[in-house]
Amino acid sequence: MELTILWYLIPSLLMFCCGVYGFITRKNMIAMLISLELMLNAVDINFVVFNRFLFPGELEGMFFTLFAIALAAAETALAIAIIINVFRVSEKIDVDDVTKMKF
């Protein structure tokens, strides 16, 4: 059985949808962050897969994925830091509860 491109894309699509679903429904900021990571990783998979199947001799997609992973790491670190700070201030990490800085 040959692994066609669909074998990669369908899990990635599922992963992305899970991410979107989680991002929309979860109120907990950590959960939202995890959902965000899911979406990012789904996209990363797509990059790699398309690179591999469409332009086998080239590496741009791979590099872009590496970039995205690095960025995601940085972003997660930042987000975790913010969430921890928010937790310290308000003892909660639900998005709806953090309204202090809103007009």
């Binding site: 979107v20 991002f23 929309i24 429904t25 939202m32 998005v95 709806d96 309204t99 809103k102």
Partner: protein, 676 residues
Amino acid sequence: MEPVIPIIILALPLAMFLVLGLFGHKMAHRTAGILGTLGMGVTMVLAYITAFTYFFSGSSEFINEEGIRLQSVIFNWDWLAFTDSLVIRLGFLLDPISALLLVVITTISFMVHLYSNGYMRDHHGVWETGFQRFYAFLSLFSFSMLGLVVATNIFQMYIFWELVGASSYLLIGFYYTKPSAVSASKKAFIVTRFADLGFLIGILILSFYTGTFDFTNFTSVGVEGMTNVYQIDLTTSEGVRNWIATSPAPVFMGGSVLTWALVLIFMGGMGKSAMMPLHIWLPDAMEGPTPVSALIHAATMVVAGVFLVARLFPLYLMEEVALNIVTVVGAITAFYAAMVACTQVDIKRVLAFSTISQIAFMMVSLGVARPEFHHGLGYMAAMFHLFTHAMFKALLFLCAGALIHAIGSNDYTDMHGLRKYMPVTHITFLVGCLAIAGIIPFAGFFSKDEILTAVFGQSIFWYIWMSAVAGLTAFYMFRLYYLIFWWKEHKVHEGHHAPHDQPWTMTLPLVILALISCVAGFVPMGNLVTWNGHPMFESVNFFTNLGALDWSVASISLAVAIIAILIATVMYKKENPLPAKMKNALPRLWDWCYHRFYWDELYMFITHKIIFGCISKPIAWFDRHVIDGSMDGMAWVTQRISYAIRGLQSGNIQLYVWIYLFGVVLLGAITAICLF
């Protein structure tokens, strides 16, 4: 004539005003008083020189070979050019009436300056606070009044007209901590301002259609071979009239433009000269210090309206209607004021109403003046009366000032029987009363007789009317005289000094003015002041005026005056119940007279209830609630809408994602529909 002296006449009082106004508070009271008086004295001498030169030098600038007096523009500086022809100039026009008024104003002003040195301090010699300010304002007034009478154009007159109004405001409100004085000054200013509105519109109309402000262009033609010398000539007025008639001038509400202009200008004169119905400010103006009343509200400023009409007299001759209005307004005012004067208690108010009545005499006299009748006798009579009235009315006011100064009250009920205590005041006051009542040979007799003759020549009805007013005049003046100096013995309250005559600074002006009042009637005014400069008599001597009397009129008016005086004597010489009986016999009439026919109440009603209550307040409310409310309303609506849609920008990222997804689906659907 060289312009030096005229310039000094105007500049000196102005300089005095500036000096006393700016540095007065650093000066001693006495210095300020002396300085002001000296300044005015010099001005007076210079004015005499000017008037003397004008009348008697015989220079060709002032009189031509036929003995006709000319108008001479001594200097004329451009002050403000609106257009090429409409230019406000500040100048000095010397002609019979301005020369006459120069004399009157400076004389009275000097007397008042002198008198105030004594009046403006109490019995212990303590100076009134603001004494220097008082002199500064007096100087300002003198400057403005002089500028008014020598005006070469109607706008210069308007400028000084406003200035005299302002100085009158400042002087009436001299005791500015006294609420009644403040409201009186306010009233005087606003009422005259209202009248000035008419004056201003009149000027606008007149100047628009004639294209000039200059009096000499309205009423006179230039004398050949001379620059700046003019002769009064009806033909130019005719020219003015043709000008107005030929230009596309609309006839407005049945009157020609000229009529309207003249009537509106006369409205300005009515305000300043306190003609009905704009007279209400003058009695209240008595809140000012008495010398001010003598100077401004008896002798000079209030005759500005008469002067204005006299100045434009050739134009008025063009429009009979305007002159008739002058006559009627004058006659009604004269009678009204005389009636009211019979009932007042405050001696200054009696004098104030008497002033209104006498000025109305002058107005009537101008109104009935026609060139056909004795060379415009009415015009001469009005000016003559202006001159004599200024002297004896100033005298009466200064006497009243002396009485008030001695008694400390304005009401005759506090005076009674003062003849023994204040002999000088008594005699001079009596002279004043005889003069105003028109007893030969005092000043008022001659001038009033000329007026009555002029009225007689025009209309029998007004003649009878005015004779009755003359009788009333004699009656109320002697009523006042008896009530002050006779009636009953004066009671000196314990612990008070008996009233006594005043220091020389106050007595001297009284005596001088009394002397003038005795002899002023003999001035041959007919040869000095006539409407077109033509002399009335071939030659003059001391008895010219006596000789020129129309005895049929004179004897009647003399008889009327004497009868009125006799009635007053019977009623008021000794304490008796007659006055009370008379009052009770005609309670309604007496009440109306006493309350001045409720004019003040009417005005109060109009200003407070109608103007403030029905116009100003609603406008202010409208502004705050409707205009501003609609602006606030716009802001409010905007804000509401913002609140309504701000839910979309909640900051909740999950909501954003939902909206985003919705948008994606929608766009996808649209694309799909469009594609397939």
